[in-house]
């Protein structure tokens, strides 16, 4: 089977300082990859390279023929902390902007119907005319999930969608992703290994290089071997390390 995205010997970073070196990864149809790793390890850098936002200084990323081209059928949910919450834009318009990712044009009344249907399904049609500054963290994530989905992508990329959200939305989100995964591939960056390991099919640990785990049954020994320190904040009040640090 030909992969949707083939990453070969990818080296990428900022201003000549590589964050990731010699990364190889194939993303196949209906994959569900959880990307974990320490802060600054290159999780977001990997996503940005796939999205074409960072130019690789070495290696290459190849898209399967039917999805290659200027506009790729990728849905992207960025870290919402980078969003300017005071920007004067309504929920409806944020979701509408996701349609930029679609090659095909749609009449404005059809697009409007489509957006309203998606907002309905996500349970946020009541806030469609609100400015984003008036939303709670969970509502924001729902809005940006809608923006990622409005273009009906073949690949969905989510960068820490589980920050600033309540438990209810977290459960809702993962159930939604499992449903979506029946049709599309998903790449999910998270800092919470404990939560995602029960949902994703495979786990990729990113720390300067990529250590790819074929299944989600990640063990202490595997992580030890890959020299991948991870700090996990799990349920309870006190953050605690469940995996040892290595250098």
């Amino acid at each position: 089977m030909e992969p949707l995205i083939k990453i070969e010997n990818l080296t990428v970073g900022y201003d000549n300082t590589p964050v990731l070196e010699n990364v190889n990864l194939d993303i196949f149809e209906k994959d569900f990859i959880g990307v974990i790793g320490p802060n600054g390890g290159g999780k977001t850098t990997l996503l940005k390279a796939v999205l074409g936002l960072l130019k690789p200084s070495g290696g290459k990323i190849t898209f399967r023929k039917d999805i290659a081209g200027k506009k790729k059928p990728i849905g992207y949910l960025p870290q919402v902390r980078h969003i300017d919450r005071k920007f004067p834009i309504t929920v409806f318009d944020v979701v509408r902007s996701g349609f930029l990712m679609k090659q095909k044009e749609l009449s404005s009344s059809d697009l409007k119907q489509k957006i309203n249907r998606l907002l309905d399904e996500t349970g946020i049609s009541n806030i469609r005319h609100k400015a984003i500054g008036e939303l709670s963290g969970g509502q924001m994530q729902r809005v940006f999930l809608c923006r990622a989905l409005i273009s009906e992508p073949k690949i969905l990329i989510l960068d820490e969608p589980d920050t600033f959200v309540d438990n209810r939305f977290e459960g809702e989100l993962y159930n939604r992703l499992i449903q979506l995964n029946k049709e599309i591939a998903i790449i999910l960056v998270s800092h919470d290994l404990g939560t995602i390991s029960s949902y994703v099919k495979t786990i990729a640990c990113v720390n300067g290089a990529l250590h790819y785990h074929l299944s989600n049954n990640i063990t202490q020994e595997q992580l030890d071997g890959y020299n991948c320190p991870i700090q996990i904040i799990s349920h309870g009040d006190i953050p605690h390390t469940i995996l040892k640090h290595h250098h």
Binding site: L51, G52, L53, K70, K71, I74, Y76, P78, H82, I83, D84, F87, P88, I89, T90, D93, V94, R96, S97, L100, M101, K130, A131, G133, E134, R147
Partner: protein
């Protein structure tokens, strides 16, 4: 009331009225963009740097507005260069160009032989001395701005809101940014005659802050900002005429008073 109507019989007042309309639309629209994208400080730097061009024009002997455009564009590029290539912090780059432009302006005017022009009219503006050719240029700028924002409204909004997402979707974000920074530079320069270099930031920010009290919708913000800019400019113009005070300062003062009253009104209604 009669004296207000009488004013419209004067040629200088008709021109001032038109200038107020054009300035309100261009500053209302461009200012909304600037405020939404949080690039007020860059715009301030470009504005003040243009004074260097005005000085140079006096010294060498060409149209001061042309000199202002030249320096405004130079400053816009210079700030980019300092930040991206020379790796100077962005706010410091802005401050450097801001003050350099002002300093050069003063030096050039000082060096100008013979009659020294009064820089006051450029620093603080005088809407009552706007010329016909300046009005034409303002009119053309308004047509360009309205066309650009009408035809490409959604794309401008999406790029301004989330540049990275727009880039990932394949929009020509860099080109968009160059076009908008050029429009900002032109808006600033062509409106210098209305409120002046030092005060123009107010037309780009106060009506927008007032409009933002009532809407969070980008399209409504553009329109409402222009309306508030016009209300403030015209009222300021009358106040300046009847109280015999400088028009630029009167306009700014009126804009702030309108904002203050409406903010208070909103607070009391809650």
């Amino acid at each position: 009331m009669n004296s207000v109507i009488e004013l419209f019989n004067y040629d200088f007042f008709q021109k001032a009225f038109l200038a107020a309309v054009f300035a309100s639309i261009s500053c209302g629209v461009i200012g909304s963009y600037i405020v939404s994208r949080r690039i007020v400080f860059i715009s301030g730097g470009i504005t003040h740097a243009s004074f260097g061009g005005i000085g140079l024009a006096f010294l060498v002997g060409f149209n001061p507005l042309l000199g202002a455009v030249l320096f405004a564009v130079l400053a816009a590029l210079g700030i980019q260069f300092f930040t991206k290539v020379a790796e100077i912090r962005e706010d410091s780059s802005i401050a450097i160009w801001w003050s350099l432009g002002m300093a050069l302006g003063i030096i050039f005017i000082f060096l100008t032989p013979g009659y020294t022009p009064n820089p006051m009219s450029y620093l603080f503006g005088n809407i009552l001395t706007v010329t016909i050719s300046e009005l034409w240029w303002m009119f053309i700028l308004n047509v360009i701005i309205i066309a650009f924002f009408t035809l490409l409204f959604s794309k401008i909004l999406f790029v301004a809101f989330d540049e990275e997402f727009a880039r990932a979707a394949g929009l020509p974000v860099t080109l968009f940014n160059y076009i908008t920074i050029t429009l900002i530079a032109l808006t600033v320069v062509l409106n210098i005659r209305v409120v002046g270099i030092i005060l123009i930031l107010s037309l780009l920010t106060i009506p927008q802050a007032t409009a933002n009290l009532f809407t969070n919708n980008f399209k409504k913000l553009l329109i409402l900002s222009s309306v508030f800019a016009f209300t403030g400019t015209i009222s300021g113009l009358f106040i300046s005429y009847f109280l015999n005070i400088p028009s630029g300062a009167a306009i700014i003062f009126t804009l702030v008073i309108i904002f203050g009253l409406l903010r208070l009104f909103k607070f009391l209604r809650k």
